[in-house]
Symmetry: C2
Subunit: 206 residues, 2 copies
Amino acid sequence: MSQPYPSVLLEKAVGEFSKLPGIGRKTAMRLVLHLLRQDTAMVDAFSSAISTLKHEVKYCRVCHNISDTEVCRICANPARDTATVCVVENIRDVMAVENTQQFRGLYHVLGGVISPMDGIGPSDLQIDSLVERVKGGGVKEVILALSPTMEGDTTNFYIFRKLAPYPDVKVTLIARGIAMGDELEYADEVTLGRSIANRIVFTGNL
Amino acid sequence: MSQPYPSVLLEKAVGEFSKLPGIGRKTAMRLVLHLLRQDTAMVDAFSSAISTLKHEVKYCRVCHNISDTEVCRICANPARDTATVCVVENIRDVMAVENTQQFRGLYHVLGGVISPMDGIGPSDLQIDSLVERVKGGGVKEVILALSPTMEGDTTNFYIFRKLAPYPDVKVTLIARGIAMGDELEYADEVTLGRSIANRIVFTGNL
């Protein structure tokens, strides 16, 4: 087949878009042609937003969340409870927990979970800095809020052991069980089994 | 709800991505975080490919296909048959026809089809330039290769009437019928009806 793209510039742009996860060459083509139909200012805004983000983004030196400043908005907020640290895998999980409006403590973003299959070990994650943070004092509870997967649980156990030298710090795990709105008959056996084993006293309130 | 994004730069980049068609805020977030994990050179390549395309792209002054040069590679190719012009809606259709390797003529890219609902009239399209091209001489056949939709057919009729003053130029329409591999029983009635009405003599070859 001869060169299928009528323009090298077009081919390059489509090539760059199709490197993104879940974007094939057909979708990339559609997106690029959409951008081509927009006016130059809009395309420049798109292009510079990406580039500026990459060049100027910072990571909070306390919790490693993405931030525009040295210390992020959450860590710098005097109204937050500094004694409680919620350990999450990534930035999206911070946003998910924040959206619940149920948590007033601080975060610690690991940047991933231990996954030997993907070559990710404890040293690739912000685990040492978590231990330092606990060692520094002031933390009373560490909430492990990782996904209940094999990798998440491996990481939970690893952190649990790393924090064993600090018995004054309570290590807790987010509750696992049947999700709200789920049909019991479709729940997997492990989840259902654990949710029975870990049943709580019903006080008349939900 | 308080400001959900931990960074204004992040929010801006996600906002730009989610302006693209078919990309919601969740997907935009996933794509932006993917780019953030890449090294700076890769992100700069992405950003500049889009921006360069928009700033430097040209449209062929003969057929209006996208091009890196004043006259596109197809129009400039001496091996192509300049007497046959295939009229298509957009750049992707040029690529689709090229991929069949069945067509050795030239193209004329309209840039859309007549669609009063979307406010697109004949003057928004490259129809006058098609008529000029035919008027200039040398064209023996104009193949209308628009989608068989109401808008496509409206455009077909419009072009047909515009070319009526040039009776030496044959105006043809791409064949419509049951698509290869389609089950007859699932074909819509209009398509099936027309494919019977427009049946061709079977010579033993397909």
